[in-house]
């Protein structure tokens, strides 16, 4: 049991592939009202990973890339880690090419692997995802795959050499929270040693806290912060929720009961055993 102190209890380190990740809230960089608000939101969140992507650009865009400059400055000063993604890819071959472009561009082996199988829900394609993960691991990438909560898929991704898996909470950008709570609980229970991150679908800090209370190791989100009325304050709220949820997980949650059980002792009430019965 932790020694009682008046200060904030320390969270345990998150380690992935031997590297300490400096935060359990991971944050995307899209959809903010301005680069400045994005920068302030990063400051408020203190994210472990910061996600970016790679796209075709004109010469003007390459020369005047204020968003990237701001992200790069933040990475230099904060210790947060860059996590390029393969968003928009629909096949293993597309994702492998984009991952290699990201590695060439950023000089990082980390990749958030996305292979979309269905455009309406942006549900990952498990088959192409696994093909891409195996190839990218073989090429030396540290692959963090965005996947569903399918237990067999997650196990195969881990077997392929992914140092963590990132099941969705709900479809990207919906803010619906943990849609398949039982499936996610089962996943956590069946793969207790795996690093697992809830990626996508979180809309409220309480949903992030719920994920952390279930024992997930981190959460990755973007829209819930970027589209808040006050993204900076929301980033701060998510950071507090994630830390609170992790503390709760570390502390050990009580076991739920069906029947009520009084927390105040009955012994000592003035009418206790006054009727002469045992």
């Amino acid at each position: 049991m932790a020694e009682p102190t008046n200060s904030e209890p320390a969270l345990d380190n998150l380690v992935i592939d031997g590297e300490v990740i400096p935060g359990r809230l991971w944050l995307g960089t899209s959809l903010y009202p301005s680069p400045s608000i994005m920068g302030q939101s990063l400051q408020a969140a203190g994210p472990g990973f910061v996600t970016v992507s790679v796209r075709r650009q004109t010469a003007c865009q390459i020369e005047d890339n204020g968003h990237w400059q701001l992200i790069d400055d933040w990475l230099q000063q904060s210790g947060s880690i860059l996590l390029p993604n393969t968003a928009g890819c629909h096949s293993a071959s597309e994702a492998i090419l984009l991952a290699n472009m990201a590695r060439e561009l950023f000089g990082s082996r980390w990749i958030k692997l996305e292979v979309i199988g269905e455009d309406y829900s942006l549900q990952p394609d498990p088959f192409e995802l696994l093909v891409a993960a195996r190839e990218l691991v073989a090429q030396g990438f540290r692959v963090l795959p965005y996947c569903t909560e399918d237990l067999v898929l997650c196990q195969k991704l881990l077997d392929a050499g992914c140092p963590a898996v990132m099941p969705w909470g709900a479809p990207i950008g919906t803010g619906r929270g943990l849609q398949n709570l039982q499936g996610l609980k089962t996943l956590r229970e069946r793969l207790p040693e795996a690093v697992m991150v809830i990626d996508a679908g979180l809309g409220k800090p309480s949903q992030a806290m719920q994920a952390m209370e279930l024992g997930f190791d981190a959460v990755l989100l973007n829209t819930a912060v970027a589209r808040a009325l006050d993204p900076v304050q929301m980033a701060s709220a998510f950071a507090a929720a994630v830390n609170g949820g992790r503390q709760a997980w570390q502390a050990g949650l009580m076991i739920e009961r069906q029947q009520a059980q009084a927390s105040t002792p009955t012994l000592g009430l003035p009418f206790w055993h006054q009727d002469g019965k045992a």
Binding site: T29, R55, I62, L105, F106, L221
Partner: protein, 77 residues
């Protein structure tokens, strides 16, 4: 010579199967490089979906029908 750059067709010179310029010359002409051939910003270049590292830009020829992609960092989730 017609090539595609970032998905858009571009006419560079009369039809020819011989390379008429290097990748470096193309990038310079399209404004991606400073006059001293240094990059104006962080970017990665692919020719026909094969990445060409910066040291090889000056020795890689651009040929008829090539597809050149110039990619940079954007925000992402």
């Amino acid at each position: 010579m017609k090539i595609r750059i970032n998905g858009e067709w571009l006419v560079l010179a009369a039809d020819s199967s011989e390379p008429v310029m290097t990748l470096e010359q193309l990038l310079l002409a399209r404004g991606y490089l400073e006059p001293d051939s240094s990059s104006k910003g962080r970017m990665v270049v692919a020719r026909n979906q094969v990445i060409v590292s910066q040291p090889n830009w000056s020795t890689t020829g651009v040929e008829e029908g090539d597809s050149i992609d110039v990619m940079g960092a954007i925000t992402g989730g």
